[in-house]
Symmetry: C2
Subunit: 318 residues, 2 copies
């Protein structure tokens, strides 16, 4: 089977999307964008043994590579629409591809995204590069750069699960329910697509948490040219993380771990009542964990005391 | 230097493109598409030792990865606009990156394309995945699927140069002018962007020649559900290819070699006079090499005789 047959077999999206005039199989896909919408574009690469362990099931690899890209759209408030996927495989393995494509299309269908382009190559290392394009009403995309002093900092869902889950992958046979939950949080992250879209005109800035709460909050504040603080005692943890790990471990996972793909965002005080409506329909928690302030950079507060945090991303508890 | 600094240093496009509201550095770029245009999207991966030799200079690698993607846009008649690039590097090498980015931006500026997203990762094999989005007036993109019996088959430029040039890479120090020309045709292919755009509403179908004249003509005819023929004696060769290779070698390079990134397209007899106008301003040759016919598949004609061609893409001369 050559690469063209392979693309046809596994990557021919059955999804009916009227915006896609001409899908996979030509030099390029032809798409009709929506009127009065801006485009939002990003790209992400996942490498085996770098971004996910080689023991991760192919279904999860397929799912995850879509979800992490959609998370970027969520952080901009955009509706995810069209995805291209470049896949480099060390060997042609039909069983692997079949299982991979099941996970891939599960995520694509869940988020109503259409695969419009693919390229498969034979390489030394399993490498997945997905490039996604979304749409957002003209001039209403959320960026990292809009936070102002006085805005409150919020986070969706629970933090630290994915980093803890990553460490548990491999021996799923005997895993407890709590372990399975945490592994799933790494393997099949939930892109907060609906919440991101609902935050348009409410959030002043947003970012998805992929590198850890500290690093990503700092990126948002830096882009907005402001400072702020996180109250570590307010970070929301899942029941499973609480059951399996100590408070110190949880805080480390949350602040340094990454891979949670929750949304971190800021909301001006005047719009808090509008956020309440989103909270009621979000289906997951939305928690205030800090605020934008006159501080120089990002401060971490634990038990009402400022604590040190070094640039390597490691938290020094006193 | 971490990956974010690296992206900023080398991939921050200085290009002023008013459609790009928010460029590299956020979760995604924000772009304002043109009104009454469709989007055209494709993705291509280039791997070291697979798609280009490891001896190829980094400037050429950067140039080539942009040009081959723009060629896909040309084949659809689209204006190339925005590119994302995912780069996997075996080691961080500042000198390599600097030279690579020079070639990359040379091509981006030449074709007026803006880099709107990047992801750099550390992998085992040098891997470049570019995803490009272009624009074409609504409902006027050219596909592979529009050719009808009676249409004439044309090719831009000369064919076979790139495949011959690939074999000559490595010992450029002592290269003759002819050898240098052929190497350049592989290393820095010219995407026929302006000709592709001019062919809108004139060509009934088009494809860019990346896998060889035989394979790509066959793909166009298959997509159009028609047959046709190529007259091998009519294939245009460059002076350098003629100087260095025998007629048989030239024909093999042209039909089987690939990597030329010329446009192969069909034009109905009623539109030939419109094509003449394009010919006058194209700056390169546009040559008729065959026609769409009632044939079953693609026939190759040499010295007025039909010749055999096997499915492996190799031409059997009698």
């Amino acid at each position: 089977m050559n690469e063209f047959e392979l693309i046809h077999r596994y990557f021919n999206n059955s999804n009916q999307d009227s915006s896609v005039i001409h899908g996979i199989g030509d030099d390029a896909a032809i798409i009709k964008p929506s009127k009065n919408y801006d485009l939002v574009m990003s790209v992400d690469t996942l490498l085996e043994d770098v971004h996910f362990p080689s023991t991760m099931p192919p279904q999860d690899i397929g799912y995850r590579c879509v979800a992490v890209n959609i998370s970027d759209m969520a952080a901009m408030g955009a509706i995810p629409r069209w995805l291209t996927l470049a896949l480099s495989l060390p060997e042609y393995n039909e069983k692997w591809l079949e299982r991979f494509s099941i996970g891939l299309f599960t995520a694509l269908e869940e988020y109503k995204v259409t695969l419009v382009g693919g390229d498969t190559t034979s390489g030394k290392q399993l490498t997945l590069t997905a490039s996604i394009t979304g749409e957002v009403k003209s001039d209403s995309a959320i960026t990292r750069a809009g936070a102002s002093v006085g805005d409150l900092i919020f986070i969706t869902g629970t933090i630290g699960d994915a980093a803890a889950g990553l460490g548990l992958i491999g021996d799923t046979e005997d895993s407890s329910e709590d372990e399975k939950f945490l592994i799933e949080r790494f393997a099949r992250p939930s892109a907060r697509s609906h919440i991101g879209q609902a935050l348009v005109n409410i959030a002043s800035a947003a970012i998805d948490v992929s590198d850890g709460l500290f690093a990503d909050t700092k990126k948002l504040l830096d882009a907005s040219l402001v400072g702020g603080f996180i109250n570590i005692n307010d970070i929301p943890f899942s029941r499973s993380l609480i059951n399996l790990f100590s408070q110190k471990e949880r805080q480390q996972y949350a602040l340094n771990g990454g891979d949670d793909y929750e949304l971190l965002f800021t909301v001006p005080a005047t719009k808090i009542h509008e956020l309440d409506k989103i909270k009621n329909t979000a289906g997951i928690s939305i928690t205030q964990i800090g605020a934008v302030s006159e501080a120089d950079g990002l401060e971490c507060i634990l038990d009402n005391k400022k604590i040190e945090y070094d640039h390597g991303g490691y938290l020094h508890f006193s």
